[in-house]
């Protein structure tokens, strides 16, 4: 029992940082509960680089999410419907 536990520990430390990031890529906030995920979680906890990287990546995404986007201008909406009406009448005339 003791033996197998220490083996798992060795595995945690041999997991490369690049591999860790690859696994996290799909979902930066993914719930890590599978065996592979628990190993990744353990690695991040013990690796300053990986935790700094993960944190900064999350913040990067968050910053872009929070970037204020302008409202759709009302004139743009009006213009669209004007063009569509013109398009329709043109089609009718062509028929």
């Amino acid at each position: 029992m003791k033996h197998s536990r220490s083996q798992t520990k060795i595995h945690v430390h041999t997991l490369s940082c690049g591999k860790v990031y690859e696994h996290l890529c799909d979902n930066l906030d993914s719930k890590l509960d599978s065996e592979a995920c628990r190993r990744i979680k353990a690695h991040i906890k013990g690796c300053k680089n990986c935790s700094a990287l993960l944190d900064s990546l999350k913040k990067t995404v968050y910053l872009y999410k929070k970037y204020p986007a302008p409202e759709l201008p009302e004139k743009s909406r009006k213009k669209l419907f004007a063009v569509i009406r013109l398009d329709k009448s043109k089609n009718r005339a062509a028929r």
């Binding site: 890529c25 910053l63 970037y67 909406r77």
Partner: protein
């Protein structure tokens, strides 16, 4: 139809009903469709172009295309996927016209994370709330950084991280494989992170 079934009907079906009406020339149904998706199209176009005027052009072109090509839409597929495809094609078209300038290739061939960022000693980012850090200088840096991404990468980042589309839907929209979507997302995030790094560690 009773209210209960209306409630559990997925969006997909309500769209299909609306689109069937548009196909029959129902102008009011088209107005409803525009109202439902105008923010999505406008927001997505703006995030891609990062320019109000270009986003406006893209907004117009997209819905005119929807109106003209609605007969080509297969009602079994998701309307939003089709819509995103039209906007993406619209925004990426300008670049394709100019022909690729080698930027995309240099991105595709650049070493992935295993060999770059993660190998360095990384300084941790400032822990202040993001909202308090959002100033003009940072916004300008963010604009410049995302504009430096090749469009084929930028569109993946916007769809996955800003529009919250799944990897599968993003792949469908861009006609890419899922692994290609994942790799482009990874590279885009690393690239943007790198461009903001010095402002966030001070």
């Amino acid at each position: 139809m009773c209210i209960l079934t209306m409630k559990i009907l997925p969006d997909h079906h309500t769209d299909a009903a609306l689109i069937a009406k548009v196909k029959n020339g129902d102008e009011r149904a088209f107005t409803q469709l525009v109202k439902k998706y105008e923010q999505t199209v406008w927001g997505f176009a703006f995030k891609l172009c990062r320019d109000k005027q270009k986003a406006e052009e893209s907004f117009q072109d997209t819905f005119i295309n929807v109106f003209r090509k609605i007969d080509q839409f297969d009602s079994r597929s998701k309307f939003s996927t089709w819509l995103y495809t039209i906007v993406a094609n619209n925004c990426l078209m300008h670049r394709r016209k100019r022909k690729l300038d080698g930027l995309l290739e240099s991105f595709d061939e650049a070493p992935d994370v295993e060999n770059s960022e993660v190998q360095k000693q990384l300084a941790a980012w400032d822990d202040s709330p993001i909202e308090t850090m959002m100033n003009k200088e940072l916004r300008e840096r963010m604009d410049a950084a995302i504009q430096e991404l090749p469009d084929e990468y930028k569109v993946v980042f916007v769809l996955r991280d800003l529009e919250d589309r799944t990897a599968e839907e993003t792949a469908k929209i861009l006609k890419l494989s899922v692994p290609a979507v994942k790799s482009r997302l990874r590279r885009s995030r690393i690239f943007l992170r790198h461009k903001l790094h010095d402002m966030m560690t001070a």
